[in-house]
């Protein structure tokens, strides 16, 4: 991207716009992470506890 080409010199510091984009993205990511783990991470435990599945392997 253009921005990337221009900024490969010296010390790079994010400007206000870049900070805003980065913070916006982290807030949106927080929502997705929250949603993913509210249900997903507990799956193996859930299957283990409910014991309705008898794995064939």
């Amino acid at each position: 991207m253009d921005i990337e080409k221009a900024s490969t010199t010296e010390e790079w510091k994010p400007q206000k716009t870049e900070w805003i984009i980065m913070i916006s993205l982290s807030i949106i990511s927080l929502m997705v992470a929250l949603d993913a783990t509210i249900l997903v991470t507990v799956l193996p435990v859930s299957l283990l506890v409910t014991d309705e599945v008898s794995p064939s392997c």
Partner: protein, 302 residues
């Protein structure tokens, strides 16, 4: 250990209130992961021509729509449809966050600044199960989805007004449509989806050596093989450039991402051999993260 137990009650409650069994509960998680994984490269690729911001907003639309469907679901069919739609949106947001970071932050500074997003993931991942458990203990599982709505609203405001990037390709709509590798996208989505469905079925719904498991596995692998062939010989403007695998360092980093996915998502347990399929699943899921290295490669070439 305690929060795992609490959060576990979320799925138990959903399972009971929607008249489902453990298989349905399993697919509530898996359908999300599956669409999440397979759509990531496709969305990243389309954003090249149609704009990062535009695709980020579209991903938010998918995520919000999926959340609404899940929140009002009265049976598991609706729930699984909702989770799949949510997965597309979630995958888009995940991959576009990384791609946008690559656009605005030079290579050398990415580890430093991407920590902000990683921090969000860490907080969300730790807090999520606790909140889920608290909701189930006190109200209903539907709150696990309601909680997304304020975030969705905020997300739209942020994405529309603040994530402004002027890097949209200056092409007409027809040119954009022609540039995008639709056949590659179809082959990739079809192949990986069928393969992952087989992988998910194996050892859970059907035996590993059954037709129901082997059929999708073989068909899916064949689909992916055709996709690779398509990328290599027919289409230079490809969805997943094979030139990504251009040097040992690149291949090793993809391999590390794969192992990372394998270990992070599921700690190995000798007592639960069937968990292995989940481990492989997560490995495939993380393999796609390697796609984001595309951005790194580009900057190296500059």
């Amino acid at each position: 250990m305690k929060f795992l137990h609490l959060a576990d009650r979320v799925l138990q409650q959903i399972t009971q209130s929607l008249n489902g069994n453990a298989i349905d509960a399993f697919w509530t998680g898996t359908s999300y992961l599956l669409s999440n994984a397979v759509f990531q490269p496709v969305i990243a690729s389309i954003s090249e021509f149609f704009g990062r911001q535009q695709l980020l907003i579209l991903s938010l639309i998918f995520f919000t729509a999926g959340t609404i469907v899940c929140a009002v679901a009265n049976n598991f069919t609706v729930m699984l449809v909702g989770r799949s739609i949510q997965g597309i949106g979630g995958g888009g947001i995940l991959t576009l966050s990384q791609v946008i970071f690559c656009d605005i932050v030079p290579l050398r500074y990415r580890p430093k600044y991407f920590a902000i997003v990683q921090g969000s993931w860490a907080i969300g991942s730790i807090v999520g199960p606790v909140i889920g458990g608290a909701f189930v203990a006190n109200t209903t599982w539907r709150w696990c989805f309601y909680i997304n709505f304020p975030f969705c609203a905020l997300g739209f405001v942020l994405a529309i007004f603040f994530v402004r990037l002027n890097a949209v390709a200056k092409l007409t709509l027809a040119q954009k449509l022609r540039q995008t590798d639709w056949i590659g996208a179809l082959l990739f989505l079809g192949g990986t989806t069928v393969f992952l469905i087989g992988l998910s079925w194996g050892g859970v719904q059907y035996a590993w050596n059954s037709v129901q498991t082997l059929g999708p596995l073989i068909l899916g692998l064949a689909g992916v093989a055709v996709f690779v062939g398509w990328q290599l010989w027919i289409r230079p403007q490809s969805l997943l450039p094979m030139s990504l695998f251009y040097c040992p360092s690149a291949i090793i980093s993809f391999y590390c991402a794969l192992v990372n996915g394998l270990l992070v998502s599921n700690p190995p347990s000798p007592n639960l051999p069937w968990l292995t399929f989940l481990q492989i699943f997560s490995a495939l899921y993380y393999l796609l993260f390697g796609y984001d290295l595309d951005g790194y490669r580009e900057s190296v070439h500059y």
